[in-house]
Symmetry: C2
Subunit: 384 residues, 2 copies
């Protein structure tokens, strides 16, 4: 199960017993959804089918682009066990899609299967795929939305942000001493944080679509930007490696070694950069450095979440984690809201999120995120 706060009660249901069964099924559907990949162009969705007595009879989840949607997976599971889905209640974490992708719309599949009722956690904000609830209702199916909506929003946080704003969710990783330094005066920085913090950072790399650094970091540190396990092996998923800036990436750079595809964007305009990444279906971008890029992102209000790994270390000199942000007084500080605090060995990870709405300058008014059935259609190994 995902670690979710106490959810809201289901609305518009037949009674307390059904309400409890639906909420329980939605928790299961959320847990199923969380088994899908957190990266990739498609949202993570789970679905549980209940018989008229409220008992679960089949379930399914989306395993990533190119595989069946959760509703189709649940219906197929029911049929494979000889269960007729007619009259069942479908409990699904995201509003069933109404568009034709590689397969037909999930709304039609539920109608064709004779499902009687549909409970949804989160409505689909995607203008291409939305309308599933209306399609279902037009077919006489009772639809309620908002069951465990907060948990559903949290699970789909990055995808929803990308659909709503037309640009990737940007997570800025920082790894600093208590005095905000990323290296000592002589430039040495290995290691400020400890092995547990570094291992954790690699698990985050394995969950995102892309990871970005500036050319300065690419040339100075020669990073591989791979997602590695504790024993040094590569995770199955490797994020797209993005280098921002005009300087060429050397032929022998580790960035050209094993790992995700390399994308070199000579852009300095971050709105353009994020738009380019959106076109490539990057929903979640992890930015790892260094101070120049972090400063540019913060100064343009492009950071949606900060992952700050803080070590119990004081240096007293050396480069600081961010440069001048044009902030002159405390009331104008770039302030985030702490979402989670985790101790990792001697270090602490603060996960803190945006407190202000996304500014328009970075929002694409025409979201570039069709919800797909197929594999991403664009090439992923190019340099621009």
């Amino acid at each position: 199960m995902i670690n979710a706060p106490q959810g809201r009660a289901v609305q518009h249901t037949a009674g307390p017993a059904v309400s409890t069964a639906v909420e329980s099924a939605m928790r299961r559907a959320l847990a199923l959804a969380a088994q899908g990949p957190s990266h990739g162009p498609n949202p993570r969705v789970g679905c549980v089918l209940l018989d008229p007595g409220g008992r679960p009879v089949a379930e399914g989840f989306h395993r990533g682009a190119g595989t069946p949607h959760a509703e189709a997976a649940a219906l197929a599971a029911a049929r494979s066990h000889g269960i007729d889905p007619r009259g069942t209640t479908a409990v699904v974490t995201l509003e069933p899609c109404a568009h034709h992708g590689r397969t037909g719309p999930c709304a039609d599949a539920l109608i064709d299967a004779g499902v009687a009722t549909v409970h949804v956690a989160v409505s689909d904000p995607n203008p291409v795929a939305a309308g599933g609830a209306a399609t279902l209702r037009a077919a006489g199916i009772e639809v309620t939305t908002g069951t465990l909506a907060d948990e559903g929003e949290e699970l789909l946080r990055h995808w929803l942000h990308a659909v709503r704003t037309g640009r990737p969710y940007v997570t800025l990783k920082l790894a600093t001493s208590l005095d905000g330094r990323v290296a000592a005066a002589d430039g040495t920085s290995r290691w400020i944080t400890g092995p547990q913090a570094r291992a954790h950072a690699h698990t985050i790399r394995a969950q995102v679509d892309a990871i970005a650094v500036g050319t300065g970091t690419a040339l100075t540190d020669d990073p591989s930007l791979t997602a590695r396990t504790i024993d040094g092996g590569l995770f199955e998923h490797q994020p797209l490696r993005v280098v921002l800036g005009r300087t060429a990436v050397p032929d022998d750079a580790r960035l050209r070694g094993p790992g995700g595809a390399l994308l070199h964007l000579p852009e300095h305009d971050l709105a353009v950069v994020l738009g380019r990444l959106a076109e490539r279906e990057v929903r979640h971008l992890l930015v790892e450095g260094g101070p120049t890029l972090a400063t540019a992102l913060l100064a343009t209000d492009a950071v949606d979440e900060v992952h700050a790994y803080v070590a119990p270390v004081l240096l007293g000199s050396g480069p600081t984690v961010v440069g001048d942000l044009g902030i002159t007084t405390i009331g104008a500080a770039a302030r985030f809201a702490t979402h989670d605090v985790t101790r990792l060995g001697d270090d602490v990870l603060m996960v803190a999120r945006r407190t202000q709405p996304v500014t328009n300058s970075l929002t694409n008014p025409q979201p570039a995120y069709p919800r797909q059935n197929g594999r991403p259609s664009r090439p992923t190994t190019e340099e621009i």
Copy 2:
């Protein structure tokens, strides 16, 4: 109960049942001890008396200088309930003292009472008071030491440090942004951290013997350095207020208002400063600022514990929490060991401790800490 890790098993006892009873009684004695004041010249001590069957029959703890020691309190409690302490087992968190203060030595009191066995968590390192175990053994009483020794050491951490080194335990408080800044470029700093972090810092003030700032902070911020409750009232205990530096404290400074006594030390030599505070029976010194004093303490390896309140804020400019420490490479960083991490609203508190032994330059070879029965004998309202 104190929040203690799993303790060691008792050694040298009659058997598992007695062992369990003694360990249980020691946990109670530690909890009792923790009810005593964490400030003041005397250690916090608790004592539980067990009958020959291992059942607790009386208990006591030390309530601060000028009140009975824990053993005397427990014996008095037994007698007030008509219980003869002869043949009982005394379970006490610190080795009973062997010196004559305002009352006679606790070791003699236990011998006179006819106690049969004594279990101790921590031996007394105080050369004036030590020797209690030997006195008891010479009188034919069985004495074991080391029961829940780790928990006992933790409870007496500041006092033991002061007795062993001859100088106060120094806790350095830092309150910073994620980029290690204590104020914005225009000097504004209210508030980087939130109300929960500030309230927590006041509870720490109420637990220490003294609180120190440099004259720079005293003049710039005009702090009161009082320990205040959430509603703005004063805690019963107010720490000695220490200002370090040559500049005079203005007549109308808040430091001269309600609160603890004011001590102005024009010293720049931190070994001398700590020695002066040790003479005044300061066991635990909290240093609150600013960067100049923090830097001096860190540069002389005088910091025993760091309390870093970190806010999810980025400033990009403004003064950093510490200045140049003479550290040029990462291997020479001032590195502490994290003891505890606490989320306080949006902020996080990292409590991190010294990893290297105290250096000799700051250690007084002749500890100036007699364990007292009486009130501190030195005046506490002077300026030097």
